[in-house]
Structures are given as C-alpha cells and as structure tokens.
C-alpha cells in the first residue's frame, strides 16, 4: 500500500469504499439510537433470563432436596407446664430412631445431634451459654421410600404410638408457598421477555417506516427501475439485521459481565434459603440464543414493514 497516496474517503466528493446498500441506510439518522435501544432490550432480556434461571435452580434444589423427606420433632415440653430434660428428649429420639429403622416404608432416619440443632438456632440466638441452658427439641430427618398419603399416615400412627406430643413436618406447606412465589417470579420474567420482544418489533418497525419515509424517493426510484419487492426488502432487512446484531451483541456482553459480577460477588450465599448464584454452561447457551432471537425479530419486523409499505406502490 502506498503511504503517500491519499485515502479514497479523504477526497472530497468521492465515494467511500465499497457500496453496501443502494439506499442511503448507513447514514440514516437514528441508527445509533436503535443500536443502543436494542442493546438495552437485550441486556434486560439477559437479566430476566438470568433471574429465571436462578429461580429455576432454586426451585429445583428445594424440590429435589426435600423430595420424600420429612422432619420429626420431639418437643422440649411434655405438656403445657412441664419440660422434658435433655436425657428424656434424647431417650425419645433414640426410641423413634429405633422404631422407624425397622419400618419398610422408611428409607433412612437420622437423628440430629445437639450440635446440629444448636447450629440451626445459632443465627437467631447467637453463641454462648444460652444455647446450653435453653430447652431444645430433638429433631430427626426421615426419608420415606415413597412420599404418599399411605406412608405418611403410617408414619404419623407410629409416632403417635411412641408419644402423642411428637410432631411430623412434611415441609409441604411452606415449600408449596415458596414454589408458588418462584413460579410467579418466573412468570413475570417470561412476561418481561415477551414485552421486550414486542418492544423490539415496534421499535424496528417504526424505524424502518421512518427510513422508508425519509428515503421515499430512492425507494420509489428502485421500484421504477424494476427492483422487485424482494430486492428492496432484502436491503432494509439486512440493515435491520446488522443493527440487531450490533445492539444485541453489546447487550449480551454487558448482560454476561453483570451476571458474572453478581456470581462473583454473591456466589455461594451460604444461606439455606437463598440460591447459590452460579452461571452454568446451559444458561450461557440459553443467553446466547437471545441475540439470535433479537436478530430474527428485527429482521422479520423489517421485512413485513417494508412489504406493507411497498404494497402501496403501483
């Protein structure tokens, strides 16, 4: 390359490089704005999708973690006024463990030791002597072969035979509430994705209509020279595709960076109820589909808009 030769686009009135479109789309006002808009839409879609994935993981963890499981509580109080001693509680826990180990509908039964129970209430009461002095219940974790009404009824009956104060917690009530809540949040995330899709269609269709109005003379000229609808449509469709590609890639990268930072900062929360925020390979693949969808949406929105406008020409 001759360094002394001036670049083509530096010379006044000379065409710059290779022509891309017959229509002056590269210099259209608002192209940058549309790229930014699509980038923001993609970013929001990635955030919504990330939230949905995190909620999905949380739901799956809760559901699978508590599947067929129940907790048996041997209360610290005998009745309204009397408390059990630690030895009494331990003796009852031992009896329940022995009795349930022989039952065919029980897969496993594990008694939580004093340390485990203290660890559970430590976040509320703190460490120290208080934990040694307050009456603590006995807890057993039971896994049933199959969690159905029949086996739960047998379990309830067996526990009542040992002591009527022993309580059975199948987690169903609060787990159901939590699953309903996460389901509602996932639905909201899906709805946000839907709105993003519609917004993208509206934005691209509006932008293409504006371009066609601004470049009406050029479009009409191509039409009069014998350019078919397909020829003109392809140019605007490609233009919309390029805008969609640029915007959605920027949005994807920004979204992945933010999710990566969240994963880095939040990572393993350690809290029993909160989800551990990890981005898995499947999630990344799911998110990469977003720009592809945005590009398809932008391209198709442009196509149908152009065809509708062209249909008004003779």
């Amino acid at each position: 390359m001759n360094p002394f030769k001036p670049k083509k686009d530096r010379r006044l009135g000379v065409a710059e490089g290779k022509r891309q479109y017959d229509l002056p789309l590269n210099k259209s006002i608002g192209t940058g704005f549309l790229v930014v808009l699509i980038a923001l839409m993609t970013f929001l879609a990635i955030m919504a999708l990330g939230t949905s994935f995190a909620l999905g993981s949380m739901t799956q963890r809760w559901s699978s973690g508590l599947e067929n499981k129940a907790t048996i509580e041997v209360p610290a109080e005998k009745n309204d006024s009397d408390l059990r001693t630690k030895n009494e509680v331990n003796a009852l826990v031992e009896r329940v463990e022995q009795k349930l180990s022989d039952q065919p509908y029980i897969k496993s039964v594990t008694a939580l030791d004093q340390g485990d129970i203290q660890a559970l209430i430590e976040p509320w009461l703190g460490q120290g002597e208080i934990l040694d002095n307050i009456p603590l219940p006995g807890l057993l974790s039971v896994e049933l072969q199959i969690s159905n009404e029949s086996s739960l009824a047998k379990l309830t009956k067996t526990l009542a035979e040992i002591d009527e104060t022993i309580r059975l917690d199948t987690h169903e009530s609060w787990l159901g509430d939590l699953l309903r809540l996460t389901g509602a949040l996932q639905f909201a995330a899906g709805f946000v994705l839907l709105i993003i899709g519609f917004t993208t269609v509206a934005a691209v269709a509006g932008a293409i209509r504006t371009r066609m109005a601004v470049h009406n003379e050029e479009v009409e000229l191509l039409h009069l020279m014998g350019a078919g609808d397909g020829y003109i449509t392809r140019q605007l469709q490609r233009h919309a595709l390029m805008i969609g590609l640029k915007g959605s890639l920027v949005g994807l990268i920004a979204g992945l960076i933010v999710l990566g930072l969240i994963a880095l900062i939040a990572g393993d929360t350690g809290a029993a109820l909160l989800p551990d925020f990890h981005i898995q390979l499947g999630h990344i693949i799911g998110m990469i589909i977003v720009p592809t969808l945005i590009c398809i949406i932008a391209s198709m929105a442009a196509r149908f808009t152009v065809l509708r406008v062209l249909a008004q020409m003779p």
């Binding site: 083509k8 006044l12 009135g13 000379v14 065409a15 022509r19 017959d22 229509l23 002056p24 590269n26 210099k27 003379e217 050029e218 000229l221 191509l222 039409h223 009069l224 020279m225 014998g226 350019a227 078919g228 609808d229 020829y231 249909a311 003779p314």
Partner: protein, 232 residues
C-alpha cells in the same frame, strides 16, 4: 409495443390531466413528445414508465395489459424500460459508477459484466475519469450524462427521456441524440419529451403533441425533405 386506449389520468379528486389518450407506438419507432408546459407530458411519461396506473382506459405494454398485471410481472416489465428523468433522480450517496450499474444489479447481472459495461459506457459519455465521483459534486451536464448512461446501460426495449438535453450544450446534446438514434437502430423504441425545436427538426421523427391533456400525432415536418436527401 405501447398501446393506449381511451386512457385518462387524474390525481386524487382533481380534474383529468390526461383525457382520452389513444395511440400506438410500434416496436423500434422513435417519437418526440412535445407540447406546452403543463400539457401533461410528464404525466404521460409516468404512465409509460409504469409509475402510475391510469384512472381509466386500457394500457398495453409489450403486448400485456398492465391494468391486470401482478406486481412481480410489473417489476420485470419495468426492467425493460429505461427512463431519463427530468430531474435526473440520481442516488447521491452512490458514485457515478454505482448509479449507472444500478439497472444491471437489479437485473442480477454478474459483477464482471457490470464493471466492463459500466466502464465502457462512462468512457463513451465522457465520464470515465469521474466514475468514483458522487453526483452532488458534478455539474448539471455531468449528472444528466450519468442519468442517460443509467437509462441505456441495460439496453432497454423502451427508452423514455424527459427533456434529456435540457442541461447540455448543443454539441453534447446532438451527440446524445445520436446515441439515442443508435439505440433506436438496434431496436429500442424511443420516446423523448422535449421543447427543443432544433433537435426535433434535425432528427425528423414523428411527434406526439399534447395540448391540455389531449394528444395528436404529427408526422415530422421535414420528413419528406429528409427522405429526398436520403435518396440522393
């Protein structure tokens, strides 16, 4: 080639700008379209290059009734028509080369063929050195030559030119008329809308004379004279 039968045209709810137009143009013929300003020349040209459909009457182009033609077929038909617009209608963001290449690209010709043909034609119209120049930096005459080159590059079967010599000096004007004559001899039907009496007299072709929206066909005034000169 072109047949108009009882054709009328009005814009919106306004009065008819063309009334009961009847004429037939044979393939390979050459005609001047003339008449006073506002007589409807541009409207008639618009109907001929299929920019509008008539509000009444029957238009037959290349043996096909355009009133009942599908969009795709109309587009194919338009590719057989070359048009030089009065205001050139060049695409200002494209170079002279790309403007002239447009009809070939629309027709889907290979790039090699496009380059060879466009380079040759631009040389012929004296714009070989200006092929990468944008229209807005060209003079009116240069722009007009680009517009004419664009109209003829695909060797149309019908060439319509609206005041094609308006911005040109006599020498280039006559040179371009000779180009149109050459195209006509190769079989292209040509209709040129013009006020230029000198050119109409020099090139003795029949005249379509429009006046207040109605059309009459006149034989060239010096036609017999030219025939005699041709014989002797």
């Amino acid at each position: 080639m072109i047949k108009f039968e009882h054709v009328g045209l009005r814009y919106g709810v306004g009065p008819e700008v063309l009334t009961d137009i009847d004429f037939t143009l044979e393939p390979g013929s050459f005609h001047f379209l003339t008449g006073p300003s506002g007589s409807g020349k541009t409207s008639l040209m618009t109907l001929m290059y299929l920019g509008r459909k008539p509000t009444r009457g029957l238009v037959t182009m290349f043996g096909q009734n355009i009133n009942q033609m599908e969009r795709d077929k109309l587009a194919t038909l338009r590719q057989r028509i070359g048009v030089v617009f009065q205001d050139f209608r060049l695409l200002n963001h494209l170079s002279a080369f790309d403007n002239v290449a447009l009809p070939l690209r629309i027709a889907g010709r290979p790039e090699k063929e496009i380059k060879d043909n466009v380079d040759e034609l631009l040389e012929w119209v004296g714009l070989g050195e200006h092929k990468n120049v944008l229209p807005l930096t060209m003079s009116g005459g240069q722009q007009q030559r680009v517009a004419i080159a664009r109209a003829v590059i695909a060797r149309p079967k019908l060439l319509l030119a609206d005041e094609p010599t308006g911005n040109l000096d006599d020498e280039i004007g006559f040179r371009l008329m000779n180009l149109f004559d050459q195209l006509n001899r190769m079989g292209t039907t040509i209709v040129i809308a013009t006020h230029n009496q000198k050119i109409m007299d020099e090139f003795g072709h029949s005249r379509l004379v429009l006046d207040s929206g109605t059309l009459k066909i006149e034989a060239p005034k010096n036609w017999i004279q030219k025939k005699i000169e041709g014989v002797f």
